[in-house]
Amino acid sequence: MIAWSRRRLLAGLGSGLVTPALPLGCTTGRERPPRFPTEVATSLPPIEQGRFDDGMGLLLAQDHTLPLVSMALVLRAGHRHDPRDQPGVARLAGMMLLEGIDGGDRRDLLDRFGDLGTTPELGVGPSQLWLQCTVQRDEAAAALALLFRTLRHSSWAPEAFERVRGDRRERLESLQGSPDAVVSLGLLEGVFGATPPITAFGEGTPASLATLELAQVRDRFALRLRPDAAVVLLTGAVSKPEALEWIAAARDGWVAPSQSLPPEPTPPELPPDDRPRIVLVPWSGLEQAVIGVGGLHHPYGTPEELPQAQADAIMVGLLDYELRTRQRTSYGVRARTWQTQYGALHQLWARVEPGDTGRALRGVREHLARIVTGTLDPSIVEDTRTQALVELMEDAHGLEPMLSQLLRLVAASLPPEALPQRLERLQRLDGRHIEEALRESYQASALRWCVVGNEAALERAVRELPRAGVVTRSASALFGGA
């Protein structure tokens, strides 16, 4: 299978940088492609919004093509609400929700969902945690009620807490065997100065996981366990009156307390620009080094984010094209190993032979500089925008993808109109803003680097990269270990 991801689909755009106009290739052959309207028809399913008197929210997207309902119960209690000295509280609390309710254990709870033909899933993000599932319509009211009970009536069993905590520690240890994960953490430290970087994902550190107590986790969670911090998301074969009826029954007497919701924590300021520019992670015995480059990504829904997302798409396309052609032979970078990750960070990474680390870094830096200082073919910008329009529609196609879109809106505290507005903004987006975003995001001063590799790889990296702002970190330190 060719690994053409959505972003990699743009790979062919790279030819636009090399030659001013993309050759259509079909003008000189004996067969010619048909003409068709170039304007893409757009549509998004409507989203209905509701709010109960006590502040509990509802977002609903109806889709009656299948007898299915997807649902999520969101609580504004994410890892940014963790105490600064106790990272990992929200994640542990979320995991405890699935460890049993009403004094029962995890197996009992999963069986109750199983009786409804579904399995609950948990998500924990910076601003919220949520429980979600998809069920056949006949079971939807019961499933929603069970989600509410799961959120409100966790058993909080001590033995379950010990097991969950032990699993998290094992997981963190297991992740340390992944060079890709390590390079991401190195970049996080460079971009945010996060210390240790693993906490930026809402994970605990070995120290916090060892010392957190069940009561601390439970009490912290209880502060935000209230209807005015909750939002219900529904997609699929459900009408609004049904949704309201199901929620009213599922709440089962849950009322908001008289005191107001605790204020949202102030987002931490980015530390002064003395963060490391280059993080080196020694890893003896690693057969392939990993090099990563990244920078700050604007949050979803902010004015700067949309052009930056287009800029990222263009950059990935151009890089992939370069990797498929010149860099494979001249820089030693293995093609098609670049990835991007959205959220707080945009990043790219690639695996290289240790002996090729220096020239790979040089080649990539020069290539990035050429893109940033060069002139983009307008067709690249236009094509990227067309792709983004279609992707936005596609992301809302189907019950579960639509539920993900609703979760994204709630996480960013955006109203449902934000989705069609995003479509409109994309249609109007000026190509100059995309180019500006490209230059801003990928200029040398905005980028941080991380190299994970053996002694030979790091030696070559040091020779190639600027001397200022270089730090060396062990993999375990990035995970918050000693």
Partner: protein
């Protein structure tokens, strides 16, 4: 290409079970028209107007199981089909579709079918059809392109096998289950590097024609869609189905493979058995067993036998035409060893063989399958892919009702019988992967 990936991925693709009153409704998502062009092209049309787009899915009835003495050839040709035609420059297939707003432009080589698919804006359907038709008949193969794509497919092998934490363990299991000469044996980099231009030309000449293809169009179809299909494909000809493969093999004695994962901090155990092929008797029982033994239940069972030995445990059936693979995959905690983990897995299997599974759990698993089956046809591209899968197995595109019905007789005794008949200790391959040496 179907691969033996970490089981979390396998689980996502498992066939699911249902026998509830919603059968008739479940069938509606795949309502379709089917007809054939004079040249033999099999055409399936499915209308869904939720999105102003169309899923275009062209399947050639040839896959990696037909490679025979040229392992890797079907996959290599899949790559080459993106490298230009006599009318479209190298790379422009993607560029043209991308400019039209198409997404998901990709191809997939499976055991018995190679599918080219894209999700295109409805107004760009004529372009997508023209591009598929054009490369069906007029692909331009060159020695340079073959050399480049050989390297790319080798890169993919390295990414999938060498760079994945458990990739070499999975590859070891697969090739022990299907040794050299078996149609399911995986092409190695050495095999791939042996392939040349003449191999690719011969393959395309024989297999890539309308008489060996099925075109599925799903979505916001225009009223003249039949005319569009005729215009694009009507003048093409050729396409010969490969000789069917008979992939039956039987393992006569347990085989153990001991290895060490250089990058892993945890031990890992894989157990694989050869099981009945896709849609054959036993296939549904395997699926139900896998769904009943979800990761959480397995973990509970494992803890009962040896608390703290197993960190994560997954089980799944990789269903293929003619012969499938059933796999147990377990990651251990730092303090355990592969052999200790194997003892736990054997204890769990003994329980299942003795029919000690709770019948209620089997019922829950079937009900979850019912939900999951509908979840798997939420989108038009998913519907197109499922219809292709049914057609590839020689069934009706809307075989969903039958697909679900074959699970109706699966109960706890049937599952236990499956384990006794198909998962015996003496007819399996075990891969015992130790963690890296402590530094």
């Amino acid at each position: 290409m179907t691969t033996l990936r970490p089981l979390c991925l396998i689980m996502a693709s498992l066939v699911v079970v249902l026998f509830t009153a919603s059968w008739a409704r479940a069938s509606a998502p795949l309502a379709h028209e089917r007809y054939a062009l004079d040249n033999g092209l099999d055409v399936i049309l499915h209308v869904d107007r939720r999105l102003p787009m169309v899923a275009v899915d062209l399947g050639y009835h040839v896959g990696w199981a037909h490679d025979g003495a040229q392992p890797g050839l079907a996959h290599l040709v899949e790559h080459l089909m993106f490298r230009g035609t006599r009318d479209v420059e190298d790379g422009d297939h993607l560029v043209l579709l991308q400019r039209s707003g198409a997404t998901g432009v990709n191809a997939r080589t499976e055991d018995d079918v190679t599918r080219y698919h894209a999700l295109v804006p409805r107004d760009a359907l004529p372009l997508a059809l023209w591009l598929e038709s054009n490369r069906m008949a007029r692909v331009r193969l060159t020695g340079d392109h073959v050399a480049q794509e050989v390297q790319t497919t080798v890169d993919e092998w390295e990414t999938r096998v060498q760079s994945e934490l458990r990739g070499l363990s999975h590859e070891s299991l697969w090739n022990a289950l299907f040794p050299a000469g078996h149609p399911f044996h995986r092409a190695s980099p050495t095999d791939i590097r042996r392939l040349g231009l003449a191999d690719a030309e011969g393959f395309v000449q024989r297999r890539y024609g309308p008489a060996n293809a099925t075109l599925v169009l799903a979505g916001d179809l225009p009223s003249d869609v039949r005319a569009q299909v005729e215009l694009a494909f009507g003048a093409r000809s050729g396409g010969e189905a490969p000789v069917g493969v008979v992939p039956q093999r039987r393992i006569e004695a347990e085989q153990r493979i001991a290895r060490r994962d250089a990058m892993s901090t945890k031990p890992f155990v894989l157990i694989g058995w050869l099981t009945p092929g896709l849609f054959e008797p036993g296939d549904a029982e395997a699926d139900v067993l896998a769904a009943t033994l979800d990761g959480d239940r397995l973990r509970t069972l494992a803890d009962r036998h040896d608390a703290g030995a197993i960190l994560e445990l997954e089980v799944g059936q990789v269903s293929l035409a003619g012969q499938s693979v059933f796999v147990f995959a377990a990651e251990g905690t730092s303090s355990t060893t592969p052999l200790r983990m194997l003892a736990v897995l054997d204890a769990i299997l003994d329980e299942v063989r003795a029919a000690r599974l709770d019948p209620a759990d089997v019922v829950r698993a079937r009900k979850r399958f019912g939900t999951d089956k509908l979840r798997a046809v939420q989108r038009i591209d998913q519907r197109a892919a499922l219809m292709q899968a049914y057609v590839a197995s020689g069934r009706d595109p809307d075989w969903l009702e039958h697909d679900l019905a074959r699970y109706a007789a699966v109960d706890v005794d049937a599952v236990a019988a499956f384990v006794r008949d198909h998962l015996p200790q003496e007819r399996r391959v075990v891969v015992l992967s130790a963690a890296q040496e402590p530094s």
